[in-house]
Symmetry: D2
């Protein structure tokens, strides 16, 4: 009997069933996409390009190096979906799990370790097991497929870092700014922001510490009325998916939490006619009313906490001895995961839109 998890264990999307599988230190990770219509073009170069953007950057990223080559094991023929489930596998190369074994005894604060160890007697903690952020590579690959589907309908998704630690981007940003951030390792929108964000991350790193950040995502091209209703509304399904990304602690659309101290007369986006089309005078709603697109760009932000794995000494417990303990984490870790989360936010957003599109919402 082998022990290689290759079956999906976590699903989202309804008509397009997305299932994630694998572990950080197993032979591979990957996902299964059911429901992609036969004939949908699968652009493997676009998939590779998105995976490239998710890779850690020199300096601000982890030293773990992975080829991150997505292999379409089934469901694709002659560059297009053949209508059967698509299985994507990405090999795990650089797996030295020995450093993780101590966490079975002294779980890392801020990680899944402690509840996972108490819940699952056989939990394989190496690399964080099935909770590892490494699995987001499979999400990015699937998201690239979804992007192809929605782009053919004129819908685009772009994200960037709105803030890293205390460095915040206060500018008005468009989807083209988001696309421009692909040039910059920190995913800030400008060279100047990239430089400051880089410094913020390196400062934390040199302290053996980490920082968080806010990712902002913009969607353009959604027809007015696009989106489901109530618990199937566009914002509800996007928010649920974004919260599925590890380390996400908050999601807000438009003015978000800031809207709660506004008056309705300020927050409502008034309508005007312009060149024969209905436009809003502001975009406090983030492009969504009643769960549906209102014709403005959809804008939302996601808060990512500081990487919990830090070199600094932390308080933990020794599960075997049932006593207090200290922990200093060695290993290889990103001092800030927000720049790499940008691609993942784009991916889940594209998957939700493609799914709602297929559902005819």
């Amino acid at each position: 009997m082998t022990d290689v998890s290759r079956e999906p264990f976590s699903f989202f999307c309804k008509k397009i069933r997305f299932g994630l599988f694998g572990k950080s230190h197993g032979p591979c990770i990957g996902c299964v996409l059911e429901g992609i219509p036969a004939g949908t073009p699968i652009d493997e170069e676009a998939v590779a390009a998105d995976l490239e953007l998710r890779k850690p950057s020199k300096g601000i990223g982890t030293d773990r190096k992975e080829a991150d080559k997505a292999v379409f094991v089934s469901g694709v023929k002659n560059g297009a979906a053949d209508g059967t489930p698509i299985r994507i596998e990405i090999a795990n190369g650089n797996t030295d799990g020995s450093k993780y074994l101590e966490f079975e005894t002294t779980p890392r604060p801020g990680h899944a370790d402690m509840p996972a160890l108490l819940k699952m007697p056989d939990f394989d903690i190496r690399g964080g097991g099935q909770f590892s952020g490494r699995l987001t590579a499979a999400i990015v690959a699937a998201g690239a497929v979804a992007k192809g589907m929605i782009e053919s309908k004129g819908i685009k998704v772009g994200a960037f870092c709105r803030s890293i630690g205390n460095v915040s981007d206060d500018g008005e940003r468009t989807i083209n700014d988001a696309f421009a951030s692909r040039k910059y390792p920190t995913r800030g929108c400008t060279a100047e922001l990239d430089s400051r964000m880089n410094d913020e991350i390196m400062a934390a790193r040199s302290d053996g510490d980490s920082v968080g950040g806010v990712v902002e995502c913009i969607i353009t091209g959604l027809p007015i009325g696009f989106g489901g209703i109530w618990f199937e509304s566009l914002d509800a399904e996007i928010a649920g998916a974004v919260f599925g990304i590890p380390a996400c602690k908050g999601v807000e659309f438009g003015k978000g939490f800031g809207i709660t101290s506004m008056r309705g007369s300020q927050s409502n986006d008034g309508y005007r006619m312009k060149d024969g089309r209905i436009v809003t005078e502001s975009n406090n709603m983030g492009g969504i009313v009643g769960g549906m697109a209102d014709g403005q760009p959809v804008v939302f932000r996601a808060a990512f906490k500081p990487t919990p794995s830090i070199a600094k000494k932390q308080h933990t417990v020794n599960l075997k001895e049932q006593c207090d303990a200290d922990l200093e984490i060695k290993g290889r870790h990103d001092p800030c995961i927000a720049p790499r989360a940008v691609s993942v936010v784009e991916a889940v957003t594209a998957l939700i839109i493609a799914d709602q599109m297929e559902r005819g919402l």
Copy 2:
């Protein structure tokens, strides 16, 4: 052929399938709950009590008066679920839809009107149709059933208003404070906060305007490790459901967006042993790591925008004439929906927990 929508059109939960039906100005609204185990006690008094808390309060609430009596049409026998789907219906009494007809021509900013009218040629706009907040009464009734299920396992859910407009509650709050808020119309935690929040709402009302607010929800009693993984994690499913409530523009757990400017050494909740149990030294994570409960109370906040229906003059468009127009909304509206949203947040949270419980997560 009649035209009475009594079939659910929006679903959440996986093992417990929850479906919502009805319209603001149809004969009734309601929901269907599939998957409640046979024998689950159904306490109709508890359902009535929760519905009472959702009702508008004198002064700060709308003048629309509804009996809000939940009728268990099927699925319940001798005070317990019989294993078949449970249908709950709540009659619509006070329906004078005539005031809504003008919105077919001049849609209300901040409401679903505009995209709904463009998307659905036959959209029945009276009371906001299927988008009406009135449907939350059915959610509250179903949530009361779910509360009974989870309370029998020692799990409690309580919510309150953390802020209304610019009045903010800066205290440390426990679930008992949340329960205490049931005495106060604004759902503030103390008499003093209730008074100040009431003034904030009445000030907006007297200006023909509205305000928003932040609802905070606390869950206690979840065993360590409770919750699914990735897109089925506890926070992802709660967030998705809370975003399904109309007017919600943001959700954050623990320190939420604030965590992004912290260092990992500050944000990580260190572990200590106390009386033979693992406890955390802080609760920045809001009781959830890796998507699972960590033994601390789960704490999250939801941002509700100001009620979009206001008396003040607003900019809109005339859909027939395809020109700019002004709008002054008469009708009966809550100048702040946050106090009434408190019950709804509790309800969807209880439903998600009951569902994850039934799924064995």
Copy 3:
């Protein structure tokens, strides 16, 4: 708390979700059809016509008289599906359940009574409760909707009685013969067969007894290759649905059980070209190979057992006294249900085809 079952409890179809609800002696029976595409024409006259064919005929049928008027409670607007779930309700008029109460003590052989009473402490036995053949009226109504969908693609379904008791129709029959049987109460294909089948039923009736029969169903117009694969094959899904009809004890396609004593050289349907199209030289497979339509008419037969409710004295047990007992059933019963099952077989077949069509199989 009321006790009126109006929620579906039994489902089939995958994309078109069909759910059945109600009881023989509740206020109504009915069904819910989810997934009918918006804009699908709903022809209420066609529905009424199919319900008329299911009604008992004078003499050979039960004396219970029901109006069997299908009311489209929701999901239909201006003669077409509006994309939300369609709820069909049929009132129960003629309900005198008092005659059934004795069966709580002395269950009827051949009926669901005994296992239902042992399984469900609160089983409402009047009219057979949720097991009553009366619920097939809702299936016929839904089937009429499905027929409309498939007829628009040139697909037709027709059924008739191949045998009643010992009276067997040995002719070659086409779908036009099946349609012709609508003239005859026994659903035999000719006046002469109708007369002999009528005599067979009346002979059983006058003996206080009942007889069974075989219903044959023919489908034309399916494109070559139509149908799913393995457990989703056309024959597997049709057979499963037909076995869902009460009293069905067997289903066979083409030569059916007779094929097992043939040689492959006899049973294989050889191919020939004819007028530029591929045709088979025989139809032993009943129009299906590999689970898919092969271009021939699909032909299958379903065996319906004799009505278990008979006037003759039978052996049963007294559940209260836990002793042997005799039973003579009074009430109103069809001495042969095969003629009425013809409409139901057509309905479930149309539903399965419509569902596979919508699934793109």
Copy 4:
């Protein structure tokens, strides 16, 4: 881009989701079983034993030799299900597909070839592709897992050959007879029947022909009342699954088609009390009334057509030339598949029962 189908494409069961994948001449076939409760023992020896019974026997079976070793790739740990999906893979060893290529031009009568080629431009016909009976090995492996689940509740499933061609077993058979048939290559119940059935098969083989057969299946130990209702009834779901097995053309329970010429007074199984338990005086219903078990052994039969691949010359068409053609099939084929279908019938039956058991029906 590789072209190896390893994703399931055909599903049955509802709570236990069973998905089949692979092709006759790909690297492997297999299946995925979701929903097996964590901790369910997985007895790999029992799996191997059932796979052994499905193998072709010397003389009456095909000469294609396969190791048929089921590998549990994921979902099993320390001899038990770990709660995640179980993936079973069985390698394809003996794959020489060259003999199949001619069928792309001249499809085999009685096979899926013709509709598959017309429906799917890229259909890989080697070994019959995804329609190959070889995939039943994966079903048998999954069925062995299900057998373990139901046997722990005292439920047993056993099948045997009731007839082969014109050799019919007219004896009363019990589940122990079914178990005894495991000794005999033809799956007849006695040595004498095995000998006669063997002769029947060898006679067909020597003629370059094939024969069909009837498989009978017996289930014991089901509690009274076990089974769903209407389209989820025990017989409906078993019949649907059995029709999913290739070459099945008929299914009947109890007296089956024979019951249609009986009178109700004969067909009804009267009840008697015996040793404090309710028993029936006969078993014409095959152990099922109202879709539920009545306490008698459940008995059903399935008709399997003669193997369509025969050496004798047959009529077909040339799809390229669009003209009539003749075909003589070489390759390696079972002259009768009924003996090997016995294991598959047992497997799908066990899966359906395990699924209904998990659904609490």
